[in-house]
Amino acid sequence: MDDSTSITLEAIHLLFSGDTELWAIIGVSFQVSTTAILISVPPALIIAFILAYADFPGRRLLISIFNTLLAVPAVVIGLTFYLLLSRQGILGDWRLLFTQSAMVMGQAALSFPILVAMGHAAFQAIDKRAWETARTLGANRIRAFYTVMKEARFGLLAALFSAYGRIIAEVGASMMLGGNILNYTRNIPTAIALETSKGEFSQGIALGLVLIILAFTLNTFLQYFQGKGHLSN
């Protein structure tokens, strides 16, 4: 058996043996990323909807800004929030640096433009008549918004999964804002970076497997919801 095979087998064993340190890292990852996505989804979808349906000055500029933010690296977001949350920063008094809350802030900021840009595309694909029909049939704004969301659900789910996939796998912002503290702010990507730098590949591979399984699960889920996966007749 060569080295890579034995390391992979060790990683699988580590994963299924219930290693507490490993599962604590996985727990931190899911907790932080899920909180971040839950915080950013409602405002992001409302903004995406407004950009798709409302007509106001500066609308195109806003769309361009959100599309540009898609390309901002995680480490730049991390740096920005680091400066804001550090002692000398505007939000320094909050004492949030190197906490899970700081990681949540960074990840929410990372997921926000993805949700807005992809959500906007999803809403734009739905006929404006959907909103008007809901309204003329007596739906209030909230119900009509919910109705249009339902019509755009496949595109919105794709936005949600893409954003979640991005933030749970990002390392830059989490490292800078969380500080990689074991059992507190160490999440999957920061742990992989740390273990690999120490030459401990098995834990890194085990955590990498978790990310791959997660990506596969989310994509399978999306495919299931999207139905046929090809053009309708």
């Binding site: 006929d127 008549r129 959907a130 008007e132 029909t133 809901a134 309204r135 003329t136 049939l137 007596g138 739906a139 109705t147 339902k150 019509e151």
Partner: protein, 241 residues
């Protein structure tokens, strides 16, 4: 099920709307009465759809007043009231994901219990003769079925005014008859109808008042002559093409 006659008498006046440099509507006025049908004609781009959308509260006019008998108010003040009592049907009505039943269910009051909902939906399906397609996907309906489901969905909302944008365009003879039959029934129930169409002949049995929208203004053709739809069609042809 819905036999009461509404006492709707709504007057829309001074309706103005401009898109860029083009004045689509210029001081247009219309009076809508329960149990009556107005046929709105005009060439493409004359503003028929915009006019209907303003009445429905879906499009904001540059100016406009509404008189419901309780006084003359600015359109903006009446917007919610319009939305509560007017239903607008697009030329190609939009169907939500799901079957015909779920689309009809959309119009029903949230306060209704499940049993009452089913009962109303069943009556509506029977009223429109849609029982055979009740469980079909609403997205795959034919043009005639689509229009009848849309009318039935609107009917469940108990509208005082129903606005229809080119409701029988691209329909075969039978579908057209069935659609107009439903509209006649609605009229008999007291619903005020405003129909936009470039082909008035189809609405001979339905129409009480023929209006022509040209250069942003509405003119009442019936007030000047005792017309028939054929005369009217000739008139429209001469004035629009």
């Amino acid at each position: 099920m819905k036999t009461d006659i509404y006492n709707t008498h709504i007057n829309f006046s001074d309706i103005r709307k401009r898109f860029g440099q083009k004045q689509i509507l210029d001081n247009s006025e219309i009076e809508i009465t329960s149990g009556k049908c107005i046929l709105l004609c005009g060439k493409n781009g004359s503003g028929k759809t915009t006019f209907l959308r303003i009445i429905a509260g879906l499009e904001t006019p540059d100016s406009g007043f509404v008189n419901t008998g309780l006084g003359k108010y600015h359109w903006k003040k009446c917007r919610q009231q319009l939305r509560n009592s007017v239903v607008y049907l697009h030329q190609q009505p939009y169907m939500f994901e799901g079957d015909v039943i779920s689309n009809l269910n959309f119009s029903l009051d949230n306060k209704l219990k499940q049993k009452q909902r089913l009962q109303r939906i069943r009556s509506a399906l029977e009223w429109a003769g849609l029982e055979s397609i009740a469980e079909n996907s609403a997205k795959t309906l034919s043009g005639g079925e689509l229009q009848r489901v849309a009318i039935t969905r609107a009917w469940l909302r108990n509208p005082k005014i129903l606005l229809l944008d080119e409701p029988v365009t691209n329909m075969d003879y039978e579908s057209r008859l069935r659609t107009i039959d439903l509209l006649l029934n609605l009229k008999q129930q007291g619903v005020a109808l405003v129909v936009s169409s470039h082909d008035p002949v189809h609405f001979e049995a339905l129409t009480d008042n023929w209006l022509q929208l040209s250069e942003g203004r509405l003119s009442d053709y019936t007030s000047s002559e005792n017309i028939t739809p054929i005369h009217y069609k000739k008139y429209i042809y001469e004035h629009t093409y």
